[in-house]
Symmetry: C2
């Protein structure tokens, strides 16, 4: 049975910017090569940073901005690293609804934020991703009940309609396809769930050019 | 204000094995070296697999078993790779309370599973980790209300007592210290929250021997 993902919610006076709503990503790019420093720096330098604020730390790079800009940036960085032919992995963590450190300044009661699903140009490199979606502040929303699995199943059903290969495994859903298509699918589950759930995060580990996948 | 983490719950007839309760990990080890295949195979070969079932896939390695055994295994694999001196990152995903693919066979109503907090020998290598904790099925538990942030704050408060360095950032808490101590701290938040919340996952990206950290 397919659970429909709502495509719109009631309009509301709550109208934050993406930054105020805490929309963004953290990602860690790993390159299995002695030249990893140069490959990572080149990849970061080649991506289009329009619309995003980027802060690179010791463990991960933090990218904040609207969903479309964040996903474009992350996809371009990973694609640029993979285009060297090196085996690359990326730990990608998307979040919305919980801005600023570990504190939430968003009103109680299930304030959600309707955004369009990001669309990306094909990356021309394929990837396999282990993906998990977490609807967190789901108790007080229009679709009340706090049933986080319902939203997860709906997102997986949606993934089956996007053209990527979808496989279930312990803790994760495995997605295979063009890097941009896989990231679009992950972002769609995140954004569509976020139309009724205030705080939604998603984690995916992506593998590109893996010798085990050949 | 510190929110106390409960140390015990009422005993119950629900007494699953760790496997039945879906206790385990997925982790992806990335080695920034041309020799990554050999380093990863050696690291997997050096770890003690007592008590765990290990399945290595294209993206990640799945480890199921009791919390103590799972954490020991993951810590030993990462430590062995880092001991080569190579820059290593690890995406670690721990889960409990949702066994078998994406389906839950655990009774409704907040069935939780009390486990001891894993304890590990010091690894002798330091790491920095970006850590996120997700209490998911928290609506129907003894501590009702579905307030996932309460459990997250309690886990962060606990982390401040373990001797690792703790820093707040967007979406994550950053932990620095000996690899084993950092993993112990992450596992403690996961296991202690899991004493009252059925489905709890946690994600951490660990960085070791990073040139940016020197």
């Amino acid at each position: 049975m397919q659970t429909p993902i709502p495509t719109a919610i009631e309009s509301t006076a709550f109208d934050p910017t993406p930054q105020e709503f805490g929309v963004g990503a953290r990602f860690t790019l790993s390159v299995m090569s002695d030249d990893y420093v140069q490959i990572i720096l080149d990849a970061l330098g080649q991506a289009d940073p329009t619309g995003v604020d980027v802060t690179t730390g010791v463990v991960s790079t933090y990218v904040s901005g609207a969903e479309q800009d964040v996903l474009r940036y992350v996809s371009q960085v990973i694609a640029a690293a993979a285009c060297t032919g090196a085996h690359v992995s990326a730990a990608v963590h998307l979040s919305r609804g919980c801005p600023g450190g570990v504190t939430c300044e968003i009103p109680d009661g299930g304030a959600a934020l309707v955004s369009e699903v990001p669309t990306l140009e094909p990356a021309g490199v394929s990837c396999v991703a282990d993906w998990a979606l977490y609807p967190l502040a789901d108790a007080g929303t229009a679709r009340a009940g706090g049933d986080h699995m319902r939203d997860i199943y709906a997102a997986i059903d949606h993934a089956r309609s996007t053209g990527v290969e979808v496989e279930s495994d312990h803790y994760v859903t495995r997605l295979s396809g063009d890097l941009a298509q896989v990231l679009e699918t992950i972002a769609a589950g995140w954004v569509l769930t976020g139309r009724t759930v205030q705080h939604v995060t998603t984690h995916a580990t992506l593998s590109l050019n893996s010798p085990s996948a050949r």
